[in-house]
């Protein structure tokens, strides 16, 4: 196990009276795909948004490569090397792949953009991820399929020298072949040494690509273990009940006062 890239220690987050995250510990290691699973309302999206700088955390410590950091805005998260691929992809349909990948961070002078350098960089990034289905980086995003758009969104995250990539339900709206493409891509990201966090409801996907699995149940991290040490049904139990055998929250009768 290598040194963690990103460590969240004792994260707490409330929205008014609703205490959404309770003392959550979460670790992301380089070269590993960590699946973050939990039922709806468990706090997965909130945790991701805290990491991405969209919500401030109430209490807790964040360490990036061992150094304590505070993340106040998406820009600070991006500067650290944390990139998020949201569920709605955040791509502009009327622009092509290159323009989308460099959106907001175009190369060249403000009055003279360096198109050729951006085009080559986009191609190289996609090639490095062994993307096989994109015929031209100048195609408009609107004419790409769902899987290809997901690929572009992920490649966009990779382009910016990111260290940690968080993917929110990347295969939720995709068909079989497209899911295949995206999962291969996720594995390749890990192979390149990035720390990948995969939020997913799909257990089959999780068991296929993840190295570790972290389970959230009602705002608490109830399990954090290597995939090999657990089974499908155990994970489902953890998600729905918060415990499974010895894992997870202790039974109420066993809590000593």
């Amino acid at each position: 196990m290598s040194e963690p890239l990103l460590e969240l220690i004792g994260i707490n987050k409330s929205f008014g009276p609703v205490h959404v995250l309770h003392d959550v510990n979460f670790t992301v290691r380089p070269g590993e795909v960590t699946a973050l699973v939990g039922d709806n309302g468990a706090g997965k999206s909130t945790l991701i948004k805290c990491v991405a700088g969209i919500y401030p955390m109430d209490h807790g410590e964040v360490r990036f490569r061992g150094r304590p950091v505070t993340i106040h805005s998406p820009k600070e998260a991006a500067d650290l090397g944390i990139e998020v691929v949201y569920q709605d992809l955040a791509l502009a349909d009327n622009l092509d792949i290159v323009q989308n990948m460099f959106l907001g961070r175009e190369r060249g002078l403000p009055i003279w953009m360096d198109e050729s350098s951006m085009e080559q960089a986009a191609r190289e990034t996609l090639a490095s991820l062994s993307v096989r289905t994109v015929k031209s980086v100048r195609t408009l995003v609107s004419s790409l399929s769902g899987g290809q758009r997901q690929t572009v969104a992920i490649a966009k995250a990779v382009l910016w020298d990111s260290k940690v990539v968080l993917l929110d339900e990347p295969t939720a709206a995709l068909g079989v072949a497209q899911t295949r493409q995206v999962l291969d891509l996720v594995r390749r990201l890990a192979e390149q040494g990035l720390g990948v966090v995969l939020i997913s409801h799909n257990m089959a996907d999780v068991f296929e690509v993840a190295d570790r699995i972290s389970v959230l149940y009602l705002g608490r991290m109830v399990a954090d273990l290597p995939i090999k040490e657990t089974t499908h049904s155990q994970v489902v139990e953890l998600i729905t009940a918060g415990r499974s055998g010895d894992l997870g929250l202790a039974r109420p009768e066993q809590v000593t006062l």
Binding site: Q99, M113, R123
Partner: protein, 474 residues
């Protein structure tokens, strides 16, 4: 549309990856590809160009005065002002917003300009004390709003309007034109602030301002009055004067030569870097076609087109032509090559994506209104120059609809994300031809309005149908 001289050896990725980006395509394939895209619904400005051709043919058959040199130059002259307003409107339309006040705002700019000229620089006397100070404070407020939004150009121009008014700058056509543009920028700052910072829908804001500016024009000019500036040679020449023969050819050389430099320069630069580009024969063909058109047009312009050649000589490229070309070049450059233009397309396509990418969406939204009103002011200078006067109807309903209609007919989408400045030029030509042709045929205003409306309807239908086709085939 690709060509590289040799296949670049990229060790990663299969041959089929980025096939379009790394494999050559011959001229024949490129042409076939164009027709495939046409059938798939990517029409671009083709319907507008074909429509323009059809209209020209129809009108020249119906009236023998239509295709005369004098009349064709008149078409350009008549449509120029509104075409320019349309060019500015494209920026607003790209965001999916609308500026209904573009017409009357331009009228305000023209009336301030004319007022300054007619009253020999004494705006205080011309407007009356209260109105003058309301106007000047208004300019200052606009500058302050621009500073809040950090749109520096807008602040500078609005401040310029304030200074020209308050310092009592003497009568000078150039200062007056600058004043018009500055007032336009100030109006745009106010509109932009209301839309982006207060968050009011642009339709409502600009509708309210449309009516407000109409009242302001009436206040400046007075009921039933007009402000004439025929005595200003400069102001009159904007839309009535022509370059001399040498100047006309200079414009031709610069325009065609500039286009050649840009297209061929980029073409060979991409080839050198091993990037995709269109086949060389096509690039050369485009340059040759533009050069041919420029030369033919300039030859025609330099002929004597006077209806009474024995008495009066009228020849040379009209001044409005280089003005329009200049605005077209600058506008297209800004949208295609600058970060600002790229961000406009992004916000128009997916504002949330742009926001997450770190783009200041509200600043972009406000700035397009500043731009559109400033350019509308230039349009006002042009259309009021034609009649060398400004009346209280300046920039009224017709002007606005012509401007929006021109942009839409040319291919700009009202929903944002799609459009070019060239669309406004093509659409403006279509509407100018319709108006001019029907006028030559002595059709009453009723017929002109009905036909103009039908043309716009037709253009919108073609646009909608082609987009459905594109959605189905992509």
């Amino acid at each position: 549309m690709t060509e590289t001289p040799a296949r670049t050896d990229k060790p990663t990725g299969a041959i089929s990856d980025f096939g379009i980006d790394t494999t050559s395509q011959s001229t024949g394939e490129a042409v076939r590809d164009y027709f495939v895209r046409l059938r798939a619904g990517e029409l671009g400005s083709l319907p507008a160009l074909l429509g323009l051709l059809a209209l020209v043919i129809v009108f020249s058959l119906l009236s023998d005065k239509f295709l005369t040199l004098n009349n064709t130059t008149n078409i350009i002259s008549q449509g120029a002002g509104k075409m320019i307003i349309a060019m500015g409107l494209v920026f607003v339309l790209l965001l999916g917003e609308i500026d209904l006040s573009a017409g009357t705002a331009s009228g305000v700019c023209a009336s301030v300009m004319a007022l300054h000229y007619v009253k020999a620089g004494n705006l205080l006397g011309a407007m009356g004390t209260t109105v003058f100070w309301v106007f000047s404070i208004g300019m200052l407020v606009a500058a302050a709003l621009a500073l809040i939004m950090r749109i520096w150009a807008g602040a500078v121009l609005a401040l310029g309007a304030f200074l020209i008014a308050v310092l009592g700058v003497p009568q000078n056509a150039w200062y007056e034109m600058l004043l018009a543009v500055c007032v336009g920028a100030a109006i745009g700052c106010i509109t932009g602030f209301l839309v982006s910072k207060i968050g009011m829908p642009s339709f409502v804001v600009t509708l309210a301002l449309f009516i407000t500016w109409q009242g302001v024009i009436l206040q400046f000019i007075g009921q039933g009055g007009t402000l004439g500036f025929r005595s200003s040679q400069v102001l009159y020449n904007v839309n009535n004067g022509n370059l001399n023969v040498f100047g006309s050819w200079m414009v031709c050389v610069i325009a065609a030569g500039g286009y050649a430099v840009v297209v061929l320069g980029e073409h060979y630069s991409r080839l050198r870097k091993g990037l995709v580009t269109q086949p060389t024969p096509i690039a050369v063909g485009k340059v040759a076609a533009v050069a041919a058109i420029a030369i033919i047009v300039t030859v025609l312009f330099t002929l004597n087109r006077s209806p009474n050649p024995q008495f009066v000589t009228i020849e040379g490229t009209p001044y409005v032509v280089p003005i329009i070309i200049g605005l077209l070049v600058i506008g297209t450059y800004v949208l295609n090559r600058t970060r600002y233009g790229r961000h406009i397309y992004a916000v128009g396509g997916n504002a949330e994506a742009a926001r997450r990418a770190g783009i200041n969406v509200s600043k972009i939204r406000a700035s397009v209104f500043v731009l559109s009103s400033s350019v509308a002011a230039i349009g006002a200078i042009v259309y009021s120059s034609k009649v060398a006067s400004v009346d209280p109807q300046a920039g009224g309903l017709d002007t606005l609809l012509f401007a929006v209609g021109a942009a839409v007919i040319g291919g700009t989408s009202l929903f944002g994300g799609r459009g070019k400045v060239a669309h406004a030029v093509i659409g403006g030509l279509v509407l100018a031809v319709v108006g001019n042709g029907l006028d030559l045929l002595k059709q009453p205003a009723a017929v002109v309005n009905i036909i103009t409306g039908l043309v716009l309807l037709l253009a919108a239908t073609v646009d909608a149908l082609s987009r459905r086709r594109a959605a189905v085939t992509s």
